[in-house]
C-alpha cells in the first residue's frame, strides 16, 4: 500500500467539497460545526486507514454521518435552513438562495442523496456506500429528491 499522504493534502484538496456537502445537508449555519466534527473524526481515524484510494469518498462518508448525528441531535424536526451565519465569513461564495433552502426541506435520505450528488459530486455507487443502501435505492432517493425540488422551485 502507498503510505498515507500528509493530512494537510486532504484539507487542501477536499475541504471545500466537504463544506459544500454539509451546507446542503444541514444548512449554512450548522455546517461549520459539522465540518469541524468531520475533520476531527477523520484525523482521529487517519493513521489506521488501510487504503489511500478514494480519500474524498471516505471524507464525504464521514461528513454524511456527522450530518445524520446533527439531525438526530435536533430531533429530526424540520430545520430552518440557510439561516445567515451569525458572524461574517470571509467566504466569497454567495449562498445559493432558494435552492439549498429547498434541499433542506427534503426528507433526510433524499436530502443526503442530493447533497452528496450535487454538493459533493459523488457517483451513485459512492452515495449508496455513504447512505448504506444499494445503488438502485440511492438513485431512487436522488430521483425522488430532484422531483420534489422541481415542484418546490417551480
Amino acid at each position: 500500500m502507498r503510505s498515507l499522504p500528509p493530512f494537510q493534502t486532504l484539507l487542501d484538496e477536499y475541504a471545500t467539497d466537504v463544506m459544500g456537502v454539509l451546507r446542503g445537508a444541514v444548512g449554512w449555519a450548522d455546517a461549520e460545526d459539522c465540518f469541524q466534527e468531520t475533520f476531527l473524526a477523520a484525523l482521529r481515524a487517519y493513521p489506521k486507514l488501510r487504503s489511500t484510494e478514494n480519500l474524498r469518498g471516505w471524507l464525504l462518508t464521514i461528513a454524511h454521518r456527522k450530518a445524520i448525528d446533527h439531525h438526530r441531535a435536533n430531533g429530526r424536526r424540520p430545520l430552518p435552513m440557510a439561516d445567515p451565519p451569525e458572524t461574517p465569513v470571509d467566504d466569497p461564495e454567495p449562498p445559493d438562495n432558494g435552492l439549498w433552502e429547498a434541499v433542506g426541506t427534503l426528507p433526510p435520505k433524499q436530502r443526503a442523496a442530493v447533497a452528496l450528488r450535487y454538493g459533493g459530486d459523488l457517483p451513485h455507487a459512492e452515495i449508496a456506500a455513504a447512505l448504506g443502501c444499494s445503488p438502485a435505492a440511492a438513485r431512487r432517493s436522488l430521483h425522488e429528491g430532484l422531483k420534489r425540488l422541481r415542484k418546490e422551485l417551480r
Partner: protein, 183 residues
C-alpha cells in the same frame, strides 16, 4: 474557509491530534519549511529541497497527522528571524531528535553543541561522537542533518580549511559563516 481551517488546527492541537505541525518562513535564502512535534522542532527544510517531499517523508516517518499550523511554530520562527538578523546567537527552542539515529545521531547532537561563530572539522566531530576514525561517516551525518541552521552543520569544515559540503548549497554555507563572523 480560512477561519474554519485555522479553528480545525487549534482544535486538533487541543485534542492531541496534531502530531506534526508545520509552517513556512521566508528567510534571506528563500522559503524554509519548519516542522515540529509536541516535543519540539523535528525538521527544517532548506529552500533547495522540495517541501512536498519533506512533508511526505514526515507523514511516513513520524505520523500522517501533518497539518499546517503556524501557531505551533511561532517560537521557532521568531528565533530564526532573529538569527538571520544577527541578533540571536543561541537557539533555545526545544528539539525533537527522533529523526536521528545511531552514530549519525551522536554526531548531530554534537553539532548542536558547537557555539555560534566557531567551527569544527569533520574529524573533530567524529571524535566527539566517539569514533575518531569514522570521519567519512561524520561527513554523512552532517549531510543528513534533519534540522539544519538550528543544528549548525554549517559550522563543520574540512581539516585542510576547505568548506566541505552543504545541503543548502555552498553559497548558503558561506553566507551563514559570514553572518556569524567566521569568514
Amino acid at each position: 474557509m480560512k477561519n474554519s481551517l485555522q479553528r480545525l488546527a487549534e482544535r486538533a492541537d487541543a485534542e492531541g491530534l496534531l502530531d506534526v505541525a508545520y509552517a513556512n518562513l521566508d528567510s534571506p535564502f528563500g522559503p524554509l519549511l519548519l516542522a515540529a512535534t509536541p516535543r519540539g522542532l523535528v525538521r527544517v527544510n532548506l529552500p533547495n529541497y522540495d517541501p512536498e517531499e519533506t512533508l511526505a517523508e514526515l507523514a511516513a516517518k513520524v505520523s500522517p497527522r501533518v497539518l499546517e499550523a503556524p501557531a505551533r511554530l511561532e517560537e521557532a520562527r521568531r528565533e530564526l528571524d532573529l538569527y538571520f538578523a544577527g541578533k540571536l546567537t543561541e537557539f533555545e527552542l526545544p528539539i525533537d531528535w527522533q529523526l536521528t539515529h545511531g552514530f549519525r545521531g551522536k554526531v548531530q547532537r554534537a553539532i548542536g553543541r558547537i557555539p555560534y561563530g566557531q567551527t569544527r572539522t569533520y574529524a573533530e566531530m567524529a571524535r566527539s561522537a566517539g569514533n575518531e576514525r569514522a570521519v567519512r561517516a561524520a561527513g554523512t551525518a552532517c549531510g543528513s542533518n534533519p534540522i539544519p541552521i538550528v543544528v549548525p552543520c554549517h559550522r563543520v569544515l574540512r581539516s585542510g580549511g576547505g568548506l566541505g559540503g552543504y545541503g543548502g548549497g555552498l553559497p548558503m554555507k558561506e553566507a551563514l559563516l559570514e553572518l556569524e563572523g567566521v569568514l
